[in-house]
């Protein structure tokens, strides 16, 4: 099954990113020496653009590669891998372009860390065994902690980053403990061999196996901010610089979603292990808490962070329904939420930078001073509010339809109510930005620079494009969701 390859040359994206990350510290020192920190920014943007091109044009099938016959690291690439990789690299590229205008101090260090974070996420998607998975997972987590604490002299960043580190590394430790139990049961951590071991009837009622499943899902749940463990997210995501908030809320939590899809579809089939009901209860709790808490926020970035928790609830609900329609809806919502949330955080970043405040009351009426930033923000907000004609409507509709057609009427109805609550607070922000009278801070604001507006316009165009012309995207996700396991 696994073919032997001499190097990782078979995966050009991973090779490219690894090489780029290894070169970037040297370039960082050089840029400091030459007093031209923009070099690293341009370099990182070009690397991400080329990697995105590679990922979009890759025609994979399924590839499994290993480096020697002895047990060791395995690289696995299939269509799901390339789907997630394209999302990560796309949002990463747009954040990098945006940061060219946004990050003023220490931009050389910023781009180095950004490349490391993207490498960690892409590596998670390409890993074919749990060891490779865990190492790349830690690379992603460590660079996220550092990026949240990027303004390390401000109390907010430091406090948020420390809380994030304590919660998230506890989750990683739980995953590692679960993996050690899995290794003790089966003697391997390769996905292919594990799935055949776990599919046997004797493994099903093994106590240690259930403990491993609970620990791994709990650890991933911390990363994606599932309900009992969501407290770190509304602290950590707003404290980061805005492009990093967009990356964290848009794509880092989607890495956990990817891992959950891998674990659930590949290793623990629902028919045997019966996790659907538990996951569904947690998903409903997550979306309700996220939406209800978001209503009461007066800080624009904190509101968006709670909205991310709610959207993770939608995706987890779709995973728990576990029909092809629901899985397709979940995958499409991963894309839609990544685009819309990145758009919201980036345009909120423009608005916050111009006005110097995050308080919604002080931001009122700023839409008249910054028409483009506020208009793109509104497109993102309308999208997540579920307005027909924009992208999130398609996937939210698909998830609710899947719930009803699978006979889960109560969860579907709860999600419908949640989408309406979501519309309430998203539309309130748009109303504040455009219709309320101006305040002292908002009346002196100016429109952001073109290099920061360009990514906003691209993302807003994608929101509209997927909304009105969804059929190619739908066919992609249906193909992904119907792959025989």
């Amino acid at each position: 099954m696994a073919e032997l390859v001499p190097g990782i040359m078979s995966i050009p994206i991973l090779t490219l990113l690894l090489g780029a990350v290894l070169v970037s510290p040297i370039l960082m020192i050089l840029a400091r020496f030459l007093k031209a920190p923009k070099i690293v920014g341009v370099y990182a943007t070009l690397v991400l653009a080329y990697a995105l091109w590679q990922s979009l044009t890759a025609r994979p099938g399924t590839l499994t590669a290993r480096f020697s016959q002895a047990p060791g690291s395995i690289i696995m690439a299939d269509d799901l891998t390339y789907y997630f990789t394209s999302i990560i690299l796309g949002i990463g590229l747009l954040s990098a372009v945006y940061s060219l205008g946004y990050i003023k101090n220490r931009s050389a260090e910023f781009y180095t860390l950004l490349l490391v974070m993207v490498l960690g996420m892409v590596g998670v998607f390409f890993s074919g065994d749990f060891v490779t998975f865990f190492i790349f997972w830690e690379i992603m987590s460590i660079s996220s902690y550092l990026l949240v604490a990027f303004n390390y002299r401000e109390w907010e960043s430091v406090e948020a980053s420390l809380k994030y580190l304590i919660m998230s590394s506890t989750g990683s430790a739980a995953i590692l403990f679960g993996l050690s139990l899995l290794y003790g049961l089966s003697g391997t951590l390769e996905f292919g061999e594990l799935s055949s071991v776990l599919a046997s009837q004797s493994a099903r009622f093994e106590l240690w196996n259930i403990a491993a499943l609970v620990l791994i899902i709990g650890g991933l749940g911390v990363n994606i901010a599932m309900s009992p463990f969501h407290y770190w997210l509304p602290d950590a995501h707003p404290a980061a610089p805005s492009p990093i908030s967009a990356m964290l809320s848009g794509v880092v939590i989607k890495t956990g979603v990817f891992a959950m899809i891998r674990v659930f579809t590949l290793l623990y089939p629902a028919e045997m292990y019966g996790w659907s009901a538990g996951l569904m209860a947690l998903a409903l709790l997550t979306m309700t808490i996220g939406n209800v808490m978001a209503v009461f926020q007066s800080d624009i970035k904190r509101l968006l962070a709670f909205s991310s928790i709610a959207n993770i609830g939608y995706i987890a609900l779709a995973l728990s329904i576990n029909t092809p329609l629901a899985l397709a809806g979940a995958l499409l919502h991963v894309l839609n939420h990544a685009i819309a949330k990145a758009l919201l955080f980036l345009s909120a970043g423009c608005i916050i930078e111009a006005s110097g405040t995050r308080n919604l009351d002080e931001l009122s009426g700023i839409g008249r001073r910054m028409p483009l930033s506020a208009a793109t923000y509104s497109i993102g907000a309308f999208s997540l509010a579920g307005i027909p004609g924009l992208n999130s409507f398609v996937s939210e509709y698909a998830i609710i339809l899947a719930a009803f057609s699978a006979g889960q009427f109560l969860p579907g109805a709860i999600m419908l109510v949640n989408v309406i609550i979501g519309a309430m607070y998203h539309l309130r922000v748009v109303q504040v930005l455009f219709l309320k009278p101006e305040t002292g801070k908002s009346s002196v604001s100016h429109e952001a620079r073109p290099v920061m507006l360009a990514p906003l316009l691209v993302l807003a165009a994608l929101c509209v494009l997927i909304g009105v012309y969804a059929s190619p995207f739908l066919s992609i996700v249906f193909q992904l969701a119907s792959v025989p396991k």
Binding site: E138, E156, I166, A173, L176, G184, L189
Partner: protein, 104 residues
Amino acid sequence: MALSPTVYTIFAGLIFVIGIYTLATKRNIIKQLIGIELMINAAHLNFVVFGANSPGGIDPYALAIVVLSMAAGAAVITVGALLVINVYRVYGTMDLEVLRRLRR
């Protein structure tokens, strides 16, 4: 004769639970980091035990996992210590109860 791996696994689970208890009850940030380290090392102990008791003799795979994961854990704790220093500079304390300015 050797003890059964189950004994070691239960012992490792105990260390893991002690780590969670540390995280839940201690207010000092350094003690919280020690709790995380306890949880990670409980998992390492499990790997070593299972690797030593594998059917085909000692399994080098498990030992490679432990070495790699120790490096990752060391990096996490290093970043944590870095943040502790900055928290102390900004807040002047190591008490987690004082770090509550974000929760509004």
